[in-house]
Symmetry: C3
Subunit: 379 residues, 3 copies
């Protein structure tokens, strides 16, 4: 592994990382442990598990994670792995169950993860059932969004980290969203190339015409420049006249939460949260919400999952048109994928040396990579 200091180029300005960080399969394996298992990752939304016993399975970084509602107040996360011989416990992507029965030797588990039955072996006979419950994935639900933390160590509270977003999120009633579309893109690039792309808008003017209709570019530069923490707050800033992020700045669905009661919705509303370097992101405007989540695959391949949410009361046709709803981010994502893949091609060149980052427009990259390097240092 290269030296773990934030590199600078001859001119004294920061750069991205040395090439090995983007090309070494060995470093990617370390990242799975020290980065992706040591930071919150966005897994879903409570709308996926409304009733007791409802569950869904989310893939992340080669892991299969089972999220199940145990009670009205409690949602649990588990590795979807039987404790006996490792068989995938739950094969369905979502469903309803009071018991999860492994198809291999029929060990069964409750929605709290406890081992319930082992065929041919009662509790205490060969083993204590209490020793062999499902391995937990820690969850925190923040205004309806379900975040997970894969390792056993301490995790900071998202409620504290995102305290400044709480008032606006409450007003928007984000627990009462419904997901109406999901895209999972796969990108031939290292995940940090995608992270870097997401954290600067220097490329936006030339590459993202759809986003630039409603986005205030100068405010966006200032916005990314303010992302000085692994947990940042803020939406894509809108131009003053724009009601939402859309191809014309007009609403694309019915207003969320308290905004639905107003005679006229205000312009320029937006709030959001983001986590780096794992890159989970929620952006909410007055009428809809978009979440992004990075999904690591291997050293040269990364997934990018975007979900679109509207008010749970909204009806397609009447309140929103799906094509209009997803137009901005689906186009923007595709543009970014091409840029990431093009940039990664050059990073792969043996001639590659990182160039100077613009101290204003690309500063969030430097902050995120510093966080990343600090995580990689901690054994």
């Amino acid at each position: 592994m290269p030296a773990l200091a934030m590199p600078e180029c001859r001119s004294g300005y920061a750069t991205i990382l040395p090439r090995d960080y983007y090309t070494s399969a060995e470093i990617f394996e370390i990242e799975l442990e020290r980065v992706f298992a040591q930071q919150w990752i966005l897994l879903g939304h409570i709308a996926q598990v409304p009733h007791i016993g409802d569950y869904f399975v989310q893939q992340f970084a080669r892991e299969s994670i089972l999220i199940v509602r145990e009670s009205n107040d409690k949602i649990n996360g588990f590795y979807n792995v039987c404790r006996h011989r490792g068989h995938r416990l739950c094969a369905s992507a979502h469903g309803h169950a009071r018991r999860f029965v492994c198809p291999y030797h029929h060990w069964s588990y409750g929605t709290d993860g406890s081992l319930k039955t082992v065929p041919g072996c009662s509790d205490g006979e060969h083993l204590d059932y209490t020793d062999w419950g499902l391995k937990p994935v820690r969850l925190e639900v923040f205004h309806g969004f379900i975040f997970g933390w894969l390792s056993a160590g301490d995790a900071p509270s998202l409620a504290l980290k995102f305290a400044t977003a709480a008032a606006e999120f409450e007003k928007m009633e984000l627990e009462r969203l419904k997901e109406v579309h999901r895209e999972t893109y796969e990108i031939n690039a290292n995940w940090k190339t995608l992270l870097e792309n997401y954290l600067e808008c220097y490329h936006c003017r030339g590459s993202h015409p759809e986003l630039c209709v409603s986005m205030d570019l100068a405010a966006m530069y200032a916005g990314t420049d303010s992302w000085q923490d692994p947990y940042f707050v803020g939406a894509t800033p809108l131009k003053q006249s724009m009601k939402t992020a859309s191809l014309d700045g007009m609403l694309v669905s019915r207003p969320l939460g308290a905004y639905a009661a107003l005679s006229e919705v205000p312009s320029g509303v937006g709030v959001g949260i983001g986590v780096v370097p794992t890159l989970s992101r929620v952006i909410v405007h007055v009428d809809h919400c978009v979440s992004h989540a990075l999904r690591p695959i291997d050293v040269g391949r990364v997934g990018w999952e975007t979900r679109w949410y509207v008010s749970e009361d909204a009806q397609e046709g009447r309140d929103y048109n799906l094509a209009r709803l997803i137009a901005v981010w689906d186009a923007t994502n595709k543009e970014d994928i091409a840029l990431c893949e093009g940039a990664y091609q050059g990073v792969l060149s043996r001639s590659f040396t990182p160039g100077p980052l613009d101290p204003k427009r690309e500063s969030a990259i430097t902050v995120a990579l510093r966080t990343y390097l600090a995580m990689m240092k901690s054994a």
Copy 2:
């Protein structure tokens, strides 16, 4: 490589191996040398080479092995590799030849492996032909079945190891079989996950309805529990009323060998041999024979080859129906493949720790893995 001791879990019971053994490409490379080249592997049957000069080529673990009949009494095995520049010597899967001529520079070899001609270089001119014969693969033919041993070291005699199966095999006249069907399955799992699956019948009741028609499950548990040696003897035990392993317990072909002369064939007949950890297996019932052979591909992929044999005198339509003949094991194989792939998914999880093996129903796994670890220790 992880420490080479048989792991135990907290409860004091044995488990399968630590995760690295199933996921490390480096360990797989060592296994090719220390396991698959240091144990007998099933390559075929003498029915494939009835006449002098008959040959066939069998792939195994990235190797191509040429098996050729030199005389009525002698069958030879060679690496299918020209000694000059390494070109694949024989391209056909089977055929008849007195000389094998390399297509690259036309070096030629006899059926005894000796170098016969080198174009432009007579024997002794630049090289002594005797130095450059084909590299041998040791063979032992056990009641018609051809086993190979890839490395040069000592190999135990199968005739001795399987002495207790000899009388029954002789009665069944296994030299007089013909292969009537072959399936080669590919499985997305480490080969040891397949080995473990094969060595226990704890999963059979819930997963193998076709096999459970004729199989005596309690006897099977006892059977696997008795597999305390790398060379074990025994067939799938049949229920008392069952003539053979079939979907209804009735014969699926004409009786083998001496059984053909009886007015009524007895029920419950079965004999077989098995080799671990390379997992070659022959199971014979009164009317047909099945062989299984594990074919390693890479750390996360393994082949599983099953062949069905009947008496050489049997005719399709009159004496056997192919669909009925293969029904039990083709179905069972497909069920096991799904289980192996499901189990391997969990073994790949960073959260995976091996669980406790049932001391009665999964004991053969422990024995086989101990053999495996002993082989891996020997440098």
Copy 3:
């Protein structure tokens, strides 16, 4: 890495290299640095860039190389990688440009490689433009053929190395060729297996009927035996009666250069140059020219690119027929690919040990591998 000495077998004759050299992904990575970046490689011909601003992009060993004509007298080579974040600078395979603008953040460069503009950052503001020009690939044009050298170290002059070919090349006016066909084959073999195949004609009699129509085999043996240098001169030698290398020895296009003025073209004309171990090759007969260039892909895969050239004045239908023109080398290439893939299969065997090379017919292999080993030793 195995010991870096040229191996000999027991008989005292040279062999090819130990197996690891052909199978180790780690050694392949070292080769990219110490072999392919430290020797001339054939990239193209000046006919691809006739006018100022004309450019083309050539892929080689995971690199994308931009070749652009800066002036009537100057052709430049650059890594096709933006100095800012590494984005592929030029996406087209060929075209015409005065400026190259990176699609990511719109940094722009001149045809001399200099950085011209950085949006939002004038020269000297955050960085000195002179520090951030494109990284050069050294070029030498030899009688129209463009060779490149990827690393920054000293490179010998091809004009000096190939001095003995100059008179004939001048007579043939190779600057005035046009490329009329190109094939890029991909071969499942290590690149050195292809190199070894190319450097001996011991296999030709049995494998290359099309080539053997016009080729003088005895002279070819003598020819390869004389390739005692990384830079060798000589064409495929023709039989005395043959005008050119074709399926009948008759011309396949109008005579090149000064030969066009003769009332009757002479028989047996041929000249050529070759570079090892990177294996770039140009062969010219009286009426057409063929170039070959090895394109490394990974340890077990290599590209082989052949281009056919005729006089720039020749017209298809009138002066040449494409099928006749390419017949000999397209057939020969396909025959060699099968041989290389067959040989590599055996090299992959754990049983493989290299056999004795014929001291006359395979001597050029020994010379090339010695050059290779010397390059691998230099850190």
